[in-house]
Amino acid sequence: MLIVFIRAVILYILIIAALRLMGKRQLGELQPAELVVTILVSNIATLPLEDVSIPMLMGIIPIFTLVSLDVLGSQLALRSKRIRKLISGEPKIIISNGEVDEKMLRSLRFTVDDLMESLRSCSVFDISEVQLAIVETTGKISVFQKQTAQPPTKEESGIKTACKDPPRLIISDGCISDEDLAAVGRDRKWIEKITRSAGTSPENVLILTADTDGIYTLIKKEGTR
């Protein structure tokens, strides 16, 4: 029993290390090769956990081999378009100027229902509004609506707006982020000033966000409100 526990702890740490090695790409949309590695890793990891007669190395070696091959494969794909196409495939256009490419739809084994479902998930309910729809290598559909169906931008509406960064998280649960504070051009004195005016102290602030114009949102911790 204790062996299983210790093995579970070791494998947990090693799999986290392996996933970190694969990088952030792994945690978002999965490319075909990444999907294969993820499924295999999760299956291989269970073998030495289920059966203590199997050496742990029989789980660790294939996991790190697969992850290393995946990382090296993606490095090669970065350098060569041909390898990238071979490993991940390429995006395919399925709707062009409101017309569905039936041939492509069949070759991708997409049903009309699949297509409509994907369009609806992109807030498009009328296929004639679609200028271009592309099936990405991850299987996700990207939709570009016709200009006539797109809402006007602020620029088109003649509304003048300044381009500025979104607000930064300056205090999180009482902890001040000096990096974010510097990014909005403020200092700790400013924090003391605004927390004092709110009748609290930085340690008692749950969230403080601020932008470069000095507009801020302050939420006190429960019990100090």
Binding site: L21, V52, P55, M58, I61, F64, T65, S68, L69, V71
Partner: protein, 125 residues
Amino acid sequence: MNRAVICALLLFMIGAACTGSLIATDQSTDRLTALVDKVEEACLAGDTGRAQEAVDDLEEYWDGCRKWLSLAVQAGPLGDISYGIARLRFLCLSEPADAAAECRGIRRLAELIRENQIPLPYSLL
């Protein structure tokens, strides 16, 4: 360090560890077979004193060898060999012919362990 470099190093280390394990398994099964041969010879010659000494050597070697072999080999065959070696001491005294048969069994198991580690087409597929 760059991920690609870490992965290349990892693959190299895994490759080296696998090759090293193959060589070490080969050498240890060779040594195990040689020790089993000695026990078998002594048993067939009816020399119980020499057989007991050979079993002592075999047990001592197997105690160390089994631990690291368990890093690369499933527990099943290792357990079978341990069971066989444990029976040898008593069989040498009472039934030398059975002891010789047990030695052949242990030798075959050791060969199977070695063969299963070598990446031959039948073991790969």
